[in-house]
Symmetry: C2
Subunit: 381 residues, 2 copies
């Protein structure tokens, strides 16, 4: 690698933003001026956070109700997209289905190819925010042989998601946990998927393309896929009783990474993880199923007592306890990452709109190959 190679773009600043601020050393996350703990403790609605991301201020009651209604009423899917999903293999990866369905949505959105109008872009952001939740819930039903359920216009997005998953009056504890998750995952600076939405948008491409790029990027196990990887690891460990032996064998002897511990930016406790840990504990108690919370808490304790983790400042990140929250809510493990997309659409679309009309993002490569090969006819090769 050449000296100037910024392969991971560590520390390279690519945009001025006002959506979120991260102090990784202090474990601070701020959404447009508000500490994430402040928003979480006051049970802010995901729709309020969308308003905060898109308009840089919290809505008043009328604005919130308007936005809630617009998201709910824009969340329905064209029949053609539902039919497309019904024709897809039931074993398909839910992120691949979401990526395909969001891409297909553009074919039915009359504003899809409007590349420049910001007011239109906000409307598309509202629709996509609802539609991603609808696709996610619809796919979980379709693959289980059930009929998808349409969104209701009288519910919040979190309530609607529970409604569309179950077809029953949404349980408020579940909706509150989903809402808290959506709030905490809504935005996080220049993470890889958000950066991807900006790379796409900077060519003048459309919002659906950018969001499809975001989903494609989020899908990776080193990004949004990490919550599912963390849960697979918890399932492999099996119970809190196995944690110490597993840690000794897999981590200390075989050098395995603990999924959900360590973060590119945070060198302190990820404040989202701390909040999600509380939710995971509450859910464990209210559901009577503390098995996975206990396991995760034990593994955290064991890891944090280890010198290797201490020296490198490796703490649980947002994926670690969100896996426990989502699993305790009875979501299938492969649904975790679509849930992440349901949240991050708020940040993605805010970044996309900010990037519209901006400069092409085109870095350089360092060529390390030969420069003077001479053409040789094929029969002489």
């Amino acid at each position: 690698m050449s000296e100037a190679n910024k392969g991971g773009l560590e520390g390279v600043v690519v945009a001025d933003i006002s959506t979120s601020f991260i102090d990784g050393n202090e474990g601070i996350l701020i959404y447009a001026g508000y500490r994430i703990e402040d928003l979480a403790e006051n049970n802010v609605l995901f729709e309020e956070v969308c308003h905060l991301m898109w308009h840089n201020r919290l809505p008043n009651r009328q604005e919130l109700e308007d936005l809630r209604y617009q998201i709910a009423s824009g969340a329905h899917l064209p029949t053609s997209v539902i039919n497309m999903m019904k024709a897809q293999p039931k074993g398909a990866n839910p992120m691949a289905v979401l990526r395909t369905a969001v891409s297909a949505l553009s074919l039915y959105d009359t504003d899809a190819e409007n590349l420049t109008d910001r007011e239109v872009a906000f409307k598309k952001a509202i629709r996509l925010t609802g539609q991603i939740a609808t696709i996610t819930a619809a796919w979980d039903r379709i693959r289980k042989g059930k009929e998808p359920i349409a969104p209701r216009v009288d519910l919040t997005l979190a309530q609607n998601f529970v409604w569309m998953m179950t077809g029953e009056q949404p349980d408020q504890t579940a909706a509150d946990a989903i809402n808290a998750y959506l709030v905490l995952l809504a935005e996080h600076g220049m993470n890889a998927s958000t950066f991807c939405t900006r790379v796409v948008t900077a060519t003048g491409s459309d919002m659906h393309s950018a969001v499809v790029g975001g989903i494609a990027t989020l899908k990776g196990p080193s990004h949004g896929g990490a919550n599912a990887e963390a849960m697979k690891m918890f399932l492999e460990i099996g119970s809190a009783d196995n944690v110490e032996a597993w840690f000794k064998r897999e981590v200390k002897e075989h050098g395995r990474r603990i999924m959900g511990i360590g973060h590119r930016v945070y060198k302190a406790v990820d404040p989202r993880a701390a909040i999600l840990k509380k939710h995971a504990k509450d859910l464990a108690e209210s559901s009577g199923n503390a098995k996975w919370y206990d396991l995760a808490a034990k593994l955290e304790e064991v890891a944090l007592a280890d010198d290797y983790f201490k020296e490198r400042k490796l703490y649980p990140n947002v994926d670690y306890y969100s896996a426990i929250v989502l699993y305790t809510l009875n979501l299938d493990v492969d649904m975790f990452t679509p849930l992440f997309a349901m949240a991050r659409i708020a940040g993605w679309t805010a970044h996309i709109i900010a990037q519209m009309g901006g400069r092409l993002i085109r870095p350089r490569a360092n060529y390390v190959g030969p420069k003077d090969r001479k053409w040789v006819p094929i029969d002489q090769r």
Copy 2:
């Protein structure tokens, strides 16, 4: 903007590569050691360039025949994907259709979720290279109410594309022009769409996701969409006789950009443009339709005589004369960018495979908002 803000990532090196070298000041483009002029003059096949990109050397005759056959035989589409395309609105943007169809392909590719095996990745690259051509041709037929035509195993990709577009024994002049276009557009360093495929891949995501991200990015009018934008401009000008008046009015008086002139990297003649200009001229002569070539050549002459263009070193780029080549081949203007994707898949997949297992690409943002807003209950906002 903060001082350190690298919004466009100009000059920031993100990878060591051996696929291509660009000297923008000298107008030099090298593919893995070979000057692009050398490859073009020797009528290299697109399949040879794929081999060069994927294995860093030109194939011998047996290797070329093997790869040609693998691409041709892997180019068929699952019936489900064809049926999906048939159900889509006929007026849909072909790049949006391509993005959706490639995303859907992953649902039927049993290797899609294999994220780590390089040998499997090469096989997927081969399949996607053929399938993108098949989707592109199939969509042009489907939207015109015609039945799509399956690829033949005895043809090169360029021949197959002409076959799948027309259903007739491919005209060799047309196939040669398509092949030349594919060769010239196959790879170009760390352009925006290629960079996007690396951002996606660096999270550990799958090849289909990365290629979908590439298509989403290429679609933008400041990137792959520029060839269509250039043609729209030529159509607006209408004839070579109108060039001087149009230039004076639109460019000099109204400050309009000339689509297809100027490039982020080239500050000299884009060598691909020079080669494509020759192809455009030959096609104009052989087809008896020199109208668009004459117009483009005239506009180039007028622009290059202008001080503004001279001082800024603004020359025709690859999109400028490729628009003329593709239009003279009777392709619809909105098919130009899918043709670009048909070529660039070679470079994308080479970069994706090189990036596999690499470091997460996660830059930073500079927060410019407030940090100390205090929560206010909704009824006090």
